[in-house]
């Protein structure tokens, strides 16, 4: 037995790493882009939609690539569903900008280019943070938001 005065600092034995594990593709690829804002509708009923494109190799998502159109209120819906059903602390959405919706503004209000860009960035950050969360990935509302063409507000909430 070695002298007790010198600490035993030898490494513990480990399984050697498989080459396919070392050089294989990462199993944690998840990228969501929010881009291409388009204004839809006329007059008072105008609103902006954004393209939400997802690429992933996480097994929990049915489609490895998906592309849908969503508007701000869809993001709000998702946030509410997750706050109610999942245990996660949902990150904040970019602001609702009610002031911008009042009349007699000097600029385009919620259709102002700089505002839309600001909102786009905020929505992209929001959806990326949520989609990467293991507990959010269990919720049907997230999968419906990201991978189904339209959101069925009468869906049955639940886990995947």
């Amino acid at each position: 037995m070695s002298d007790a005065a010198v600490a035993d600092t030898r490494r513990l034995n480990s399984k050697p790493q498989d080459l396919s594990d070392a050089y294989g593709p990462p199993s944690n690829f998840l990228e969501i882009d929010v881009y291409d804002p388009q204004t839809v509708g006329v007059g008072r009923n105008r609103y902006t939609t954004y393209e939400v494109r997802m690429r992933t190799n996480l097994p929990i998502f049915k489609l490895k690539e998906s592309c849908v159109r969503r508007r701000y209120s869809d993001f709000e819906w998702l946030k509410n569903e997750l706050e109610r059903d999942s245990k996660i602390v949902v990150p904040p959405l970019p602001g609702k900008a009610l002031k911008r919706q009042l009349p007699f503004r000097g600029d385009e209000g919620i259709f102002e280019e700089s505002f839309i860009e600001e909102r786009r960035v905020g929505l992209e950050q929001f959806i990326n943070r949520i989609a990467g969360h293991p507990l959010a990935q269990n919720e049907r509302c997230l999968h419906m938001f990201l991978q189904e063409e339209s959101i069925d507000r009468n869906y049955i909430p639940g886990k995947v």
């Binding site: 600490a7 035993d8 070392a22 944690n28 990467g132």
Partner: protein, 344 residues
């Protein structure tokens, strides 16, 4: 001129310190040789105190020095106490004494001049280690008291007690597989479950499955001080150390080594249910942080113990020293050479 004082006036005078008073001083017999250690006080200041172990005798002298020489000091008795007590900060009035010894040094009477009294507390039991924490304090001290009718004169001298242990017979490693289904599976291992205060934690983390983007992994040492009993239990957690063991994203099959030297951190031995009043326990917290700042962690208790500083020389080396003293140099050299060979 003489003033004739009534009893009440005399009382008033001594209240305002016009009467005789004294200074008390407690000095240990082995003050020159006994080791001193640093101990943090309640307000965070560090001071040095004499170090004692369980069973050691505490002996010394109490010097009572009269402030106004010539005047006599009336007293109701002089004594010295050795006290070990636990004080809960939320219940300051109640001191729980678990050791209380007293030696009477003088019967009620009067001192005409400064005097020194010897005392000895033989083979005193000191079952617990001195501890100053967030909500509780355990201390040992000598208290010399000159009792008087109105106000006692007393002096306290704190000492520090360390409890020593030896290498535990059973010291199994901690090995576990944990994870989140389909997301992250790891196997972690620490080489022991009981570590002494200057030990090294040697271990590893093996990644079986990684489907989240990990940014960084660290090991934290957490100290938990628990006070109170039953429904009034209160835990105070303090992160003593944060030690990064991995920077970057691991993949399946990777193994990350751990080597954490404990001597660099201020820790105490694990204290379990001391006098049924408090506990101090330590936990290793393995923390993984992903790119979205989400934290995944696994906490594991470890037992800390204090090793004695005594250095043991091997038997043959001791024999060679003896040979040097009693025999000629030639045989002593042979014994030394033999001892060196055995040791290498």
């Amino acid at each position: 001129r003489h003033l004739t004082l009534t009893r009440d006036a005399a009382a008033a005078m001594s209240f305002f310190s016009f009467g005789q008073s004294a200074e008390i001083d407690v000095v240990l017999n082995d003050a020159e040789t006994r080791k001193k250690v640093e101990h943090k006080s309640e307000d965070g200041k560090k001071d040095k105190y004499f170090l004692f172990y369980d069973g050691e005798t505490v002996s010394g002298k109490v010097n009572v020095t009269l402030k106004s020489p010539g005047k006599r000091l009336e007293h109701q008795g002089i004594k010295i106490e050795f006290i070990g007590q636990i004080e809960l900060y939320y219940d300051r009035g109640n001191h729980h004494e678990f050791v209380s010894l007293v030696k009477d040094l003088a019967r009620p009477g009067e001192l005409t001049q400064s005097q020194t009294f010897d005392f000895e507390f033989t083979h005193v039991e000191k079952p617990y280690e001195s501890y100053t924490g967030q909500n509780v304090k355990l201390r040992y001290f000598l208290r010399a008291t000159v009792s008087r009718r109105l106000n006692d004169i007393s002096k306290e001298m704190d000492i520090v007690v360390h409890t020593l242990s030896t290498y535990p017979e059973m010291n199994s490693s901690i090995k576990m597989e944990v994870g989140i289904e389909d997301c992250l599976h790891i196997e972690f291992e620490y080489n022991k479950s009981k570590y002494h205060l200057k030990d090294v934690i040697v271990g590893k983390i093996y990644f079986l499955l990684v489907r989240i983007k990990i940014k960084h992994m660290e090991i934290d040492i957490i100290k938990r001080e628990t006070t109170g009993t039953g429904p009034n239990v209160y835990h105070e957690n303090d992160t003593i150390a944060k030690y990064e063991i991995m920077d970057g994203a691991p993949v399946r099959g990777e193994s990350i080594p751990i080597r954490l030297f404990l001597a660099g951190y201020e820790m105490t031995p694990t204290m379990r249910d001391i006098n049924k009043k408090f506990s101090v326990r330590y936990y290793l917290n393995l923390v993984l942080i992903d790119e979205e700042e989400r934290r995944y962690f696994k906490q594991q208790e470890i037992t800390l113990w204090r090793k004695g500083d005594i250095v043991r020389k091997s038997m043959s080396h001791q024999a060679s020293i003896a040979a040097q003293r009693f025999e000629g140099s030639a045989s002593a050299e042979k014994a030394l050479a033999q001892a060196k060979e055995e040791n290498s």
